[in-house]
Symmetry: C5
Subunit: 320 residues, 5 copies
């Protein structure tokens, strides 16, 4: 990449953040089917007002049952389904098995996002690729309001991933099904350029998901780590940004696609709420917290959910 | 994974076992076709009362004829088919060749589970993957009441396995055919985390099968081995559970999917019956013993089968 | 594998051979289409009386033209076609090119077995896999009465092989076309367990072919070699069997599928006839000799064929 | 390759350039659908007069967001779309995500080229292959006037690339959609023969694209580098050509397919204009400059675009 | 391979050549569609009298533009098309791009052979495989009279090659399109057995092509090289044949399939004509010379073509 010689990199970065484009309404661009379904998540369920509060219960496949021990009740999938319905979530995201055997009891009470690919974390993720175990047609049949796809940006198997995503994306277009991409940097090439959590990697992941046709992008929180960031390509290797600015970059890179930020492993309550505030203020549309919520017993879970909901509504900046 | 800091791991484990959720009826969630067929196995054939006593005759492909030498009569597949019919099994499980050439003589006398994939044990199982040699449509054509699929959880080829299982699962949904997943941990990554027989591995396998859409999960008995378990991810690396608790964990992880436990190589009679008792009392639905049964001559085989049947009926805890 | 402790392995082996189950009629189990076509080979052409005398002319692809030099006339495929028709063979087996360009002249005079896969022997066979170059539909179109498929049992590519065979087997079921499996052990794992010619390997190959849906299994003659057999799995590593007993084991392992034994490279006449006698007396249904027949000039070929035919008819033990 | 012995290589080269065949009209050979659509790009939009001025906005996927920092406005894809429409481009080229979410606002104002494959630059490009993420049917549905495909000439995965391109090309033929091939030499074998930028490599890439059915070929500027060119096959290893002659060779190798030259990373204005002049005078049809244009703020971008347009019109030599 | 002990290898070889079977008419065996189209090439265009004089213009993809420098006019594909039409060729063979953009001007004037696969020579050919870039349906659509396919005999990827060829062959059968196989030995296993140019290799390639369903086989001239031939399998390792005998062997191995011999790189005129004479006298049907023809300027090219044509007609021995 060549830069204009008269440009000061630091100046550039500030400008990039300051001049953040106000994205046009996403819903206005969508087909009637996508618009109808996404409208349910944004306005008819959950906190509403154009926000997304999503409950993921895919850890049983991605990590195994080990995540359920801190709260033994959570081993029964009904726990998360009941939580999503009673606490008023925008939607619950799970794989085909749970959707088939547990969602019927809650149909109509909370929207379903069917994740169509997934994998165990047993083998190394050096060549990460997550094969589809369900189809968009399965999602339609089950009454889902969106489809989830996990994309490993930068994996050496990106060609298989993009080809598979293409099929899912085309089926989403055909059925009017919103497409939510879990966009995760992965692979040793990413590790060598600052790591999967770097702003470089998350920013790229945000753009890739949008370019591949995502309507909503699920991102991990970018982590600022100068020691590792120096290995990233320019200008990321010399950027000095705050956490808030980092999020704004990623949200901007996702363009008209909506952004939801994830929580990862369990952290303290203030961090949960601060992250929620940060992503909404950066123009993001919501959060997707799993273990941070359902690794708590019922009443504690309801309490933090209430706080998240309140934070979402008080921080919302963008009309989807 | 992050734990609440005020949680005592050992306390957690006991709670996990004590608060085991009573699973809702599986049959109530199933489509009419699956329900009709599974009802046959659970109530109309075999011991009944919602139990499963299954006879596998897939060792000829998985191990070769060597398993038949201890009881030369068993080399003729008709031996196992006759045993299944006359001793009153819930169903017999075999591959397409036997189903085509031996099942016709017993059609109507004992239900058939068509195993749709399989492989020899000649090459190394480091990259285990078992390709389909038959389809769900074959099963429908042959009058089978369920389909069997072998999933290698944790194999480096899990992507191919999950994609193949997806096709089988979707065809099962289409035809109303119950799906039984033989869920086996495999691969060097599993070996490095405690081994294929560890509670960590079997527990994960139980959850994976259910998440991928299994109606019934076939598991091997988890083996407690502190020396190897210390390499498993937390909390398995520090758990102290009894054999009975281990089984309860696995049955719980399978959720609404029914669990049948297998016997493996031939063991003494008391172990056979104790295992039967353990899995039923833990909420499992039955057993699948092959070599432990048909490596005996006819009258001895009938005797142990009678004892297994009695044990199943006296130990049943769960209404499917 | 666990044995009953009170069992004497040698005793077991004798029993296995002595109690060889009389297989039920194969034809009675087959669909009308398969039955009609196989009946032609067994009773209407060739020696008849339920025997199979097959002429293979696939060496031009499997080995190249080098096999034709000992009898230059044999380089012209018409030589083998004329021999099959005039000497009265049960059927001739070849690939699509010969079937298309040479069989038309002999249509109606001798049945055709279309081999649907094959390969050169130029590259190493360490990862042996033989891709299909024709379809069952090609066989139907050409008026063939059976389809031939080469399966490499134990090859590291067994997953591809079994998946490919599945398609062929399903098409055979669909069209009522008998399926003949050339079942060959292959790969370094087999080499490490006694080799491709060992009883362990051939016995496994016999069972695999039958389990995968073969109606007829083509096997190589098992070779007793204590020095190599000791590396085979138990009980093969300590078995002491005669050549005759070895064949009986393999025929028994193929169950209701018929067995034809092959000749391999050219041997003396007495061996040819003794092998013929052995396989028929062991319950096999016939022989498939290629080079042993057509590497002779016309009148010599006719003479040995007459002797083989006579031996077949005088040794037949099984009603197919 | 054998040469006539009486031929002087240098003489040959000059002749090759001097006798450059006047290509017949491409449009006259095309099907009505291709002709209609390509006519729009060549005559109805952009500079017209049979020239092509294309704006690519695929860097967000090929390089990631890092390319947008020099001009922060460019991070919002609407910037490039607006530029293409307002400055009067022949067409804008992008991937499916941008085409779906940003093109609708400019439909009818500027033609769309849908690029149907692409990849990140995160993993090594040693085995470069760019999987399709969209189809020609997607392009038809979105109202695109051409399809873009990236071919990696010389990659060890060329077999997959050519098979994939075949599908795209056939669909283009079926739908009457012009096919533009981004023809890039890649892989270590190319590196060992002078490199991806050498005349040998670009010349080969031009021919390959045309031979594979491209209507328009997008090439990088060949770079003369005697130190590296000496590793190229004869006669490239000893050719002494000017930059202008090198371009003429490549344009000639593309035959009746039209050629557009790309700019790569940002260079100074005079180089931009000189390259434009060179390719048109060599018989090429246009240019495709991305970063050289939109890494400038709005008014500067408009100014250079105006100069490019003027240069195109004053340098055009070929009637498409 | 076992030989009759009383056979003298040298005697065998002479016999093989002396008793060369007169092949039956190929045309008589072909379907009406194939017969109609092949008749055009053999009798209605070119020299006629059942000969084939083919002009290949696939070097632009197989070698790149470097082959065109000796005769700069040849860089424009129209040169070869015009030559084929005006000099009266039996057919011209090229890939899809040239067929689409250059053949229309000569439709009806010279038959077209559409080559459906091809590749660059940039990467190593150790694992040679040439993916299809066009279909038989493309050939039908373009009015072609035959389809060309390049098969790499002995390549480690032979399984993919044979599976791909199967599809092409089946489509040829379906559409009545003659199939011409460019049959080339390739791969390190061939190199270790005497090399791609040895009689062993070419003889095998001839048989393979015919066995896989070729109607016409294109072979390279076998080269006698005792130093390398000693590594070939018996009896090739000890054969002493003349060039003429070597060709006769290869022609015989192709059976009823017609043989055309290629020229390779440019050689002197007498060799061109001698090769033509040799292949025709050995029972071959024609020649396919590319660089030997179009690497000459127009009048010289016409002159050698006239001489080739005359030689063909005066040497023809076989009625197709």
């Amino acid at each position: 990449m060549a830069y204009c010689e008269d440009t000061d990199p630091e100046e550039e970065q500030r400008v990039a953040v300051d001049t953040l484009t106000e994205q046009k309404s996403l819903l206005a661009e969508l087909s009637p089917g996508k618009r109808t379904r996404l409208h349910r998540l944004l306005f008819e369920f959950g906190p509403g007002s154009g926000t997304l509060m999503l409950l993921p219960i895919d850890q049983g496949i991605e990590h195994g049952p080990r995540d359920f021990f801190p709260n033994p009740d959570s081993k029964d999938p009904d726990y998360q389904f009941r939580l999503a319905a009673e606490a008023g979530y925008s939607a619950l995201a799970c794989q085909i098995g749970l959707a088939s055997k547990y969602y019927p009891d809650y149909a109509g009470q909370v929207p379903l996002i069917l994740k169509v690919n997934g994998k165990t974390d047993v083998p190394s993720s050096a060549h990460a690729f997550s094969a589809c175990n369900a189809s968009v047609e399965d999602a339609v049949r089950l009454g889902a309001d969106a489809v989830g796809y996990t994309l490993y940006v930068g994996s050496p198997r990106q060609d298989e991933d993009l080809a598979q995503l293409r099929q899912v994306r085309q089926d989403c277009d055909r059925f009017g099904m919103p497409l939510i991409v879990w966009s995760y940097p992965r692979g040793e090439a990413i590790d060598a350029k600052g790591g999967a959590g770097s702003l470089y990697a998350i920013d790229y992941a945000a753009r890739m998901a949008m370019e591949m046709g995502a309507d909503v992008v699920k991102l991990n929180m970018p982590k600022i780590d100068p020691a590792k960031d120096k290995d990233a390509p320019a200008p990321y290797n010399e950027m000095e940004v705050t956490q808030e600015e980092a999020i704004r970059h990623c949200v901007a890179s996702a363009g008209r696609a909506l952004v939801v930020l994830s929580g990862g492993s369990k952290v303290d309550d203030e961090t949960v709420l601060q992250n929620t505030r940060d992503v909404l203020e950066a123009g993001g549309s919501g959060v997707i917290f799993g273990r941070n919520v359902w690794q708590r017993e019922w009443s504690e879970a309801l309490e933090i959910i209430g706080q998240i909901k309140e934070t979402l509504l008080s921080s919302v900046r963008r009309t989807p």
